[in-house]
Amino acid sequence: DAGITQSPRHKVTETGTPVTLRCHQTENHRYMYWYRQDPGHGLRLIHYSYGVKDTDKGEVSDGYSVSRSKTEDFLLTLESATSSQTSVYFCAISEGRTSKLDEQFFGPGTRLTVL
């Protein structure tokens, strides 16, 4: 597995509380992505980053914010969690040097439950 870790791996929280998920890479890859995986919806892109402090929205960005202050860390924050944000969250990285569409390598996922 590429050097990608996600923390926490599991989290249960209550509606209205803030939640931050962390993605950490040791590959020095340029691109980092946050997806959510839901039955019937597949993987949907939340936000992504193409460099330190450079981020952009994905398909389902409402209710989420991100930050990337270092190459190796990409944080996903739910400012006020809702039950609709119960999901499995995946981080992915790609090198982005030879092609903007280099292979993406995925983390192990974080299972988030919002009660």
């Binding site: 691109y31 949907r44 892109l45 994905g58 398909e59 569409l101 292979e103």
Partner: protein, 107 residues
């Protein structure tokens, strides 16, 4: 709008049978297409991409621009092929994934 459609949620076959997982896309431009796979208790990983035109684990996929399809095929399914398969479309520097097809191969 760019979109990827995988019409089958579940595909069940017996070992040794041919497999075809369907993928259709809509994209205004020259598409880049991928198949990713998630085996049980493993991370999602790239299976193949159309520009490499290679066969991985016996799987092939041909881009058909006329039919806007990128179906994944294997002539003889194996039990270890059981997994979740996602078709993905490249859109500048990100991917659009389909909803996925779960392949079950029975002995």
């Amino acid at each position: 709008a760019q979109r990827v459609t995988q019409p089958e949620k579940l595909l069940s076959v017996f070992k040794g049978a041919p497999v075809e997982l369907k993928c259709n896309y809509s994209y205004s431009g020259s598409p880049e297409l991928f198949w990713y796979v998630q085996y049980s208790r493993q991370r999602l990983q790239l299976l193949l991409r159309h520009i490499s035109r290679e066969s991985i684990k016996g799987f092939t996929a041909d881009l058909n621009k006329g039919e806007t399809s990128f179906h994944l095929k294997k002539p003889f399914a194996q039990e270890e092929d059981s997994a979740m398969y996602y078709c993905a479309l490249g859109n500048t520097d990100k991917l659009i994934f389909g909803t996925g097809t779960r392949l079950q191969v029975f002995p």
